[in-house]
Amino acid sequence: MTSAQQNAAPVLRVQGELNIYRAAELKEALLARLAPGTALQIDLSGVTELDTAGLQVLMLAKSTARALGGDMNLVAHSPAVVDVLELLNLSAWFGDQVVIPPSPTSFAR
């Protein structure tokens, strides 16, 4: 995970697997960066796997951010993320623009 400052909106870049093994780590990293009045961006382009535990943390961060009067946005969804959001019909819940990446060449991811 790396963070960067971009046009005042902090960006957290998450890479690799976003699963139960890293959920606790992610939770801390996310909560530490949430601050009242700021919109945190989470760059998901490097996420190779997303499971329920990872998803929950993202949902938690979203609601926590809103409760704090800020916001949290997911950007650059990787195919693995899109797949899960699609499956659970959560794109609207997060309310972020999902850009469908060019489809993989074959039928499996």
């Binding site: 139960i20 499971d51 998803l55 949902m59 019909n89 794109s91």
Partner: protein, 734 residues
């Protein structure tokens, strides 16, 4: 549960399922009840998909999913089982097997090669589904999820489908709350929903995060999510319930069948009061309920006394949904049944069994040694005790060996596929008839017999069975038959591969052999001996004579493989009628009952089941054969053969051995008696030694060599021809 172990189980089970699937596919065209076969195939594919989903093997899931879709169509009677479809499904079976094998080798995701191999199959399957190939779309979830955030190539199609079908409440409603420990137990709710999507279409889904606490109390390893799913599927309730079988104890599941009474939906809403509005929205959105119905429902809900016990609602629900109860009962019964089956058999590592056999082998040697000492001490009590121990050890040996015995059926069944494939390859119509599947033989033998048998079967099909026109012209049925048979015969197992083809052309083989210098012209060879020439290395590889073309290709390899198993091969053929190749193998490779003989100071062991009788030595003066009740019995003098030192004793003995219908007499000094022998293979250094197949250690600690009777008999057979000729010649000269 250890994941590695679970994965191993998955691999083993998948392989078994694939085998079942293959067998069902191969027999489906002849089956009396094809529907049952289709179900079996479907079940196999379905289970593999389900389990792969649990392990996150998405490439297997997505491939099997397409296979399953086609099978669903077949099950629904919308597609008929054709030859072409069977071939395609068999290839799919192979592909899944490849992927499972890759998983077994630790490759948990698909690589480019696998994908490329699978792609044409998927295309072909999609063609059956009436869908144009869609290379541009990821096909993990071909079913639509209602809100499509960005335009997809076939969005129009999806929208139309949803709008067209969403009339009325023909959707299942699944209400799902996962327990807090699901994640910690190694399950991912996502995989279940994914899997659900494979048995039908998830028309709409609402993810409920209401249980998610605030940041400080939230434990990342606890599951807080719940789902409300509108689901369209042909599957029955049990099938849908079974999707969640693995989290059964860890989740709250409520399934409402399509067109349930409004009261049921109300009851559902009641149970989840805090989310009722959102669930209601979902129901309305999917057309399960109309907005008006929802309104009434919500009103009813508020009207109901809050004190109404939950149990009452449940009973009410059960009353209107008898199938729920039924499903639950069936489920329980199933669980009990699997339990009973599990306790009946235990999976044991083959290595552990081998170790046991080894130990039993050592035990036999040690026991023999103890018996010997007991006899020497001449203490009657000790001898008695020892004989008891010996007989027990024998029993232990027998049951230990029995553990390794497997039925040959599994091996034979594999040939259904071989015959199916090869007959298509060759464009011949050939059926496989199998008998004696229940014959048991040692696992190690089974493993090693596969290749030679395949070769023999292929050969029989390729060169044995004539083209249909020729067959019809000869008055035979157009369909050729290849038979596999197995039976026990005097301590060995016999596997016969026969065809009803043209048979071997004796004259052609002989001409070929003479041409190659294998046989001297003018020799009178028995038919058996002529046919055996096809096992000569390189026989008929070059300058092929059409009728026996290829018959010899690789036959020498077959023979070598079988000889390496201490077995032998024989051929019987009738011109115009067919050929039978008989493979004779020892039942087990580890232990034999031996008969000990002495020559000079060397001790040899002869496998007991090959011994016919023992007679006192007598020989036609100056010849190496004797007259055994009017028969010529060729003699082999072990002393000469193995160059044992010392001269012959005064009273020699002949041990008459028989192998594959031929007899020979072994000339030895002394007969020592029976002895259980554990075979110790000879080291590499002795691999070129002829007529010795192994060694064993005697009770006294001495080494005895085990004689390779098939090789010896062969040797004697050569001699016999000569001696028979000698007899003839002498008769003529008189």
């Amino acid at each position: 549960m250890n994941l590695d172990q679970a994965l191993q189980t998955f691999i083993v089970e998948s392989r078994e399922l694939l085998e079942d699937m293959e067998n069902a596919l191969l027999t489906i065209e002849q089956a009396e009840d094809p529907a049952e076969m289709v179900n079996a195939i479907f079940r196999a594919a379905h289970t593999i998909k389900g389990s792969s989903g649990l392990f996150g093997l998405d490439h297997i899931v997505s491939f099997t999913h397409v296979v399953e879709n086609v099978l669903t169509q077949v099950r629904a009677g919308k597609l008929s089982i054709t030859d072409r479809l069977v071939s395609l499904l068999l290839s799919c079976c192979d592909h899944i097997a490849l992927m499972v094998n890759a998983v077994a080798e630790g490759q948990l995701t698909a690589d480019e090669e696998t994908l490329q191999r699978g792609a044409p199959l998927v295309q072909a399957l999609l063609a059956y589904l009436g869908q144009p190939p869609q290379p541009q779309q990821p096909q993990q979830h071909p079913q639509a999820q209602a809100p499509v955030p960005a335009p997809l190539p076939d969005e129009a199609d999806k929208v139309e489908r949803i709008a067209g079908d969403a009339s009325g409440a023909d959707l299942w409603h699944i209400s799902l709350r996962f327990g807090p420990d699901v994640l910690r137990n190694g399950m991912d709710p996502l995989s279940f929903i994914r899997y659900l999507g494979t048995i039908g279409e998830i028309v709409d889904i609402v993810t409920l995060a209401d249980a998610l606490p605030d940041a400080t109390r939230m434990d990342p390893e606890t599951c807080y999510l719940g789902y409300e799913i509108a689901f369209r599927s042909e599957a029955d309730k049990t099938t849908i319930e079974n999707v969640f079988e693995f989290v059964r104890d860890d989740c709250q599941l409520r399934i409402l069948p399509p067109k349930s009474k409004i009261a049921d939906y109300v009851a559902l809403l009641q149970e989840m009061p805090e989310q009722s509005a959102r669930i209601g929205e979902l129901l309305v959105r999917c057309g399960t309920l109309t907005a008006r119905e929802l309104e009434t429902a919500l009103q009813v809900q508020t009207a109901i006394e809050p004190a109404q016990p939950l149990g009452e609602i449940l009973i009410e629900q059960q009353a209107v949904q008898p199938e729920v109860v039924e499903a639950a009962l069936t489920k329980q019964k199933q669980v009990r049944e699997t339990h009973a089956q599990e306790s009946r058999s235990v999976r044991v590592d083959a290595e552990k069994l081998d170790q046991l056999i080894n130990l039993v082998g050592e035990l036999i040697i040690a026991g023999a040694s103890a018996s010997l000492i007991a006899r020497r001490t001449q203490a009657a009590e000790l001898q008695e005790a020892m004989s008891k121990v010996t007989s027990l050890v024998e029993d232990v040996r027998d049951s230990a060996l029995q553990l390794r015995m497997v039925k040959i059926a599994a091996t034979f069944n594999r040939f259904q596929r071989v015959v199916y494939d090869v007959s298509r390859e060759l464009g011949k119509d050939i059926a496989l008839v199998v008998s004696g599947e229940d014959t048991e033989l040692d696992k190690t033998v089974v493993e090693k017999i596969g290749d030679p048998l395949t070769h023999l079967v292929r050969n029989a099909m390729d060169h044995g069975i004539e083209p249909a026109e020729v067959r019809v012209a000869q008055g035979k049925p157009a369909q050729g038959t290849v038979k596999l048979d197995a039976y026990h015969d005097s301590g060995s197992i016999v596997i016969a591969v026969s065809d009803d083809g043209g048979g071997l052309r004796r004259d052609k083989i002989l001409a070929k052999a003479i041409e190659r210098g294998l046989v001297e012209p003018g020799h009178n060879l028995a038919d058996e001996d002529v046919y055996k020439l096809i096992f000569e290395p390189g026989f008929s590889t070059a300058d092929q004579v059409s009728n026996l073309s290829g018959r010899g290709v690789g036959m020498d390899v077959v023979k070598r493989n079988i000889t390496a198993l201490r077995g032998s091969v024989g051929v019987h053929s009738e011109e115009g009628r067919g050929t039978t190749v008989t493979v004779r193998l020892p039942l087990t490779l580890a232990i034999i009952d031996g008969f000990l003989v002495e020559v000079g100071r060397s001790v040899f062991a002869i496998p007991l089941d090959m011994i016919e009788e023992c007679v006192a030595y007598s020989a036609e003066a100056g010849h190496d054969y004797t007259d055994l009740r009017g028969e010529v019995l060729p003699l082999i003098r072990l002393r000469t053969l193995f160059e044992v030192e010392g001269s012959a004793v005064r009273r020699e003995n002949i041990v008459v051995v028989r192998h594959g219908g031929q007899k020979a007499g072994l000339v030895v000094d002394t007969l020592l008696g029976e002895f259980q022998t554990v075979i110790k293979p000879l080291g590499k250094m002795f691999s070129r030694v002829r007529c010795i197949s192994g060694s064993t250690i005697l009770g006294s600690g001495d080494v005895a060599l085990i004689l390779d009777i098939p090789a010896l008999v062969q040797e004697a057979a050569g001699a016999a021809t000569n001696s028979a000729r000698a007899l003839e010649n002498s008769a003529f000269s008189d």
